[in-house]
Amino acid sequence: MTTLDDLMKLPGAMAAFEFRGSGEMLEHRIAHADRINESTLDLLAHMCAANLSIATMQARGWEKVTGMVGFYPVQQFTLIGFDWSVVVSGLQREQYKQAGKFSLPPFMGVVLANESADYEAAFAVLERKEPVQ
């Protein structure tokens, strides 16, 4: 399973975190505490949980209304800030749901400096498929 340390190896990684669907932050790593501190990361986790839920609702509604498929389930939500971006995903939870598991892994997120951000690499790490335990 993808770990916070895997995410911290991404180009420009400033922080990585795990959080519940409610937004509560669990584990985290911070590389630049002068830019991102624990309180900010906690607020980011809550923001990202809300944004993922809204994006999922919109993707579901969009597919039903338009007949265009390929938006749902949302794999990642990314907020692009002025200097940095945050990418979050709950995709690994889908694998557990499909395997009939009730205990799901947390959501994961990574903060990337915009100058060196590789969004596709971040998506690939967050989408990595591992055997369901």
Binding site: I36, V65, F71, Y72, L79, I80, G81, F82, D118, Y119
Partner: protein, 118 residues
């Protein structure tokens, strides 16, 4: 050329458009009906307003954190990605285009757009 025309010429972009922050108009080009483009612009505008509110909250908590002003957001689905920077949106077919290239282009092209959302 407008940025919407430029975006539509990028590999994998199936539709692109612009919306007014105040919500009274939008324009688009690409493979969407007028009604669906209106719905897309409304959803994109709502999310943009929301992430800007969130960035302001982070800024209040940690001044000069580097999040504000928020530049945009992405929703990455299994086949399509919604890319929004400032008041411009586009739909990208993942297998035919590069998200990194598209975000880089949009951030560069829209770097001087005022962030006061008027």
């Amino acid at each position: 050329m407008s940025i919407v025309t430029d975006l539509l010429a990028k590999p994998g972009v199936v539709a692109a458009g612009e919306y007014a922050y105040r919500g009274d108009r939008f324009s688009y080009r690409g493979a969407l009906s007028e009604n669906h483009a209106r719905m897309a612009s409304i959803m994109c505008r709502a999310t943009t307003m929301s992430v800007n509110m969130e960035a302001s909250m982070v800024e209040a908590l940690q001044p000069l954190s580097g999040l504000l002003p928020a530049r945009g957001w992405l929703v990455h689905g299994p086949e399509y990605t919604v890319c929004v920077v400032a008041n411009v949106f586009c739909l990208l077919e993942n297998s035919k285009g590069s998200i990194n290239d598209l975000v880089g282009f949009m951030r560069h092209a829209l770097a001087n757009i005022p962030s006061d959302m008027i």
